[in-house]
């Protein structure tokens, strides 16, 4: 079972650093596994924890949150806020019975296409080891609604 298991990971990127790192990985033709699908936000500070729950409840096996290095956020310091939320998020996930390792926080500057690709590769392997999340999805299981009040 685990041999054939291909995890699906949703990655959140910020417009200024990590999305550009992904662009650079592309232009430099650096290879990484196709298991990740990226979403662009303006800043890692935009990451609402609801997005992570939504990804899990819609079938993702892992979530990668990425942004500029501390001190390099385009909006000065919003990635520190993302970092605080990330720590809380990991705790909350543990309480839901989800391995905290299924979320990962990665800083990648616009010049670090290599680093981003490496982190993706590592994370895909790690989640592969963890196996499928199999979070019950709608309509029988938990449903994460689109408003924040639900959590």
């Amino acid at each position: 079972m685990t041999e054939a298991f291909e995890p699906v990971i949703v990655g959140f990127t910020c417009n200024w650093c990590s999305y550009r790192a992904a662009d650079l990985a592309g232009t430099a033709r650096i290879k990484y596994p196709p298991n990740i699908r990226l979403i662009r936000l303006m800043c890692s500070g935009r990451l609402d924890p609801t997005f992570v729950f939504k990804a899990f409840s819609s079938g993702a096996d892992g979530v990668m949150i990425t942004g500029c290095h501390p001190g390099e956020c385009h909006y000065v310091e919003q990635n520190y806020k993302a970092m605080r939320r990330f720590i809380l998020l990991q705790r909350t996930l543990a309480q839901f019975g989800i391995e905290p390792r299924r979320v990962r926080l990665v800083w990648a500057s616009a010049a670090e296409g290599h680093r981003l690709a490496e982190e993706i590769t590592n994370m895909v392997e790690e989640v592969r080891q963890l196996g499928p999340l199999n979070w019950p999805t709608a309509p029988d299981g938990v449903q994460v609604t689109r408003s924040v009040e639900a959590i």
């Binding site: 924890p49 819609s58 385009h74 909006y75 924040v148």
Partner: protein, 676 residues
Amino acid sequence: MSKERIGVYVCHCGTNIAGVVDVEEVAQWAAGRLKDRGVVIARDYKFMCSSLGQEMIAKDIHELGLTRVVVAACSPHLHEQTFRTACKRGGLNPYLCELVSIREQVSWVHTNKIAATYKAEAVVSGGVERVLQQVPLEPLHVPIHPATLVVGGGIAGIQAALEIADAGYHVYLVEREPSIGGHMAQFDKTFPTLDCAACILTPKMVSIGTHPNVTMLTWSEVERVDGYVGNFTVTVRKKARYVNTELCTGCGICQEKCPKKVVDDIFEAGLGYRKAVYTPFPQAVPKFPVIDRDNCIYYEKGTCRACEKLCPTGAIEFNQKDEILTLQVGNIVLATGYDLFDPRRNPHYGYGRLANVFTSLEFERLSNAAGPTDGKLVLRDGITEPRTVGIIHCVGSRDRYFNNYCSAICCMQSLKFAHLLKEHTGATVYNFYIDMRTPAKAYDEFYQRVLSEGVLFVRGRVAEVTDAARLRGEEGKLIIQVEDTLAGKQRRIPVDMVVLAAGLQPRHDAKDVAKLFGISCSSDGWLTERHPKLDPVATMTEGIFIAGCVQGPKDIPASVAQGAAASARILGRIHQGEIALEPIRASVDADKCSGCRICNDLCPFNAITFHADRMVTEINPALCQGCGTCVAACPAAAISGTMFSNEQILAQIEGLLLLNLNPERAVTYASEAVAA
């Protein structure tokens, strides 16, 4: 069933995408599987960004009544604007177009065709869901303050400042040193024409000093930058000069009489001296000296005051304080230049240990008629002319232990040195090079000329410079140990003088400068341009431009061209009077806001204010930069952010994962080996 009518366009990008992703399959899949999501047409096309591709979209909008468009092609950072404009031409609000990347994020990074096609479909589905939640928007119009700040008074900054000032607009030029001029002011001759640097630079410096539209702030540094394009507020520290510039006439008596000699590490590259009160060089602009507080005897011991006593106009003011100035500007040019690679970092070449090993900047000062030796090319003893000289190229450049990049100017600068040595001393000159790089106009001709002057060239990276003589004829010499890769043998070449063509490096504080102005640098430390080919002087931050070596190693003509290019961009904006910005902004729904104030401290731009009378929070759209942090934080979901609303992102997540929830499509694929 959606009421929207969506068109999906999948680009081949020649074979860039189509070579890995089955683009026809993706289009067919979207037309079928996403039909109930509103997709009415899905096409694939060789080059979507071509005019034919764009026309195709505009035509479909007209003929099929499309209300949303998704283009699956390259990165939005490349062509988002192109496709938005195409939609606008077709009569659709440009923000109802979504560009998803299946090139940078799929075909260029994956090799397994089935997996790549599958992922491309997921990405398209994410784009479709996202665009369904998109609303029509209008760009924001921001007025442009007509004044400009230029930081760095080297040749690039000077050029930028003059262009803008000549066009009739005000410029503040902030320079850290006591005078403008930068590195170019240190040189004697400039390649390839061998013009005297001072002859071509000084007139420009004087124009800056006298221009009615330029406020020159030397001995000053930027401390803080607030605001955004069109309306920056910049805080500048004007360091105390201890000289009243209203009274000083620049006569130079203070410098003459000051008893304290200091090694001049900056302008004289450590080869010469200056006084504690000094102007770096005679043609300095402005002509007013500064007192270097760290070296002044009065500040150290409380006595001396020779300058004060002897100044004929009473201009010396020991009690002067730093001034803090606040400037309002619409745009900013960063032209802070480069530092020279410190060759002490490569101990094999003996710099700092072997007296007659010189850096390139030291050689420039030696050859300069106004330099410490009055232009005599002599050894460290100040009198002996060298009979043989070795010039070593690529010191600290193209070297995996130091900098991987080529410093672009050192081959030409070494040829210039070789020529000057031949001309002034008739010495035997060797150039030790890896490759000769002379690509610009009249550069290779200069190389040919130096070859014909009898300069010797040895191809090979020098292993060591030593004073340990082994063979006859080596005593008292510097011996250059090198593998001559053309002759295929090891050689030891004894010389009197070694010149190290040290590479260019980002300023030691380039990262801090980048941070101060909210832009990024490459991993080497050069400031990053918006696009490496098509937009080399803009940055990712609106209103901040870069010019000269701060962007990467380059020669004077290229630095001047960038200075002029940056100012052309800025002048265009000043003329328009305003700039259109992406309407990415947060706003509060007053009815939903509970007044909890959680968001109040989150905004680094102070865009959020709380109205205690009404117990609601409001966001000032002129200050908001659209990061979305407050949107994510509001527990009442009272804040929404355009272009990145909760609805859009949640829908995109669902769309991206559509294929996983669809059992008949649940293929598995071998994971790809990664070329790390």
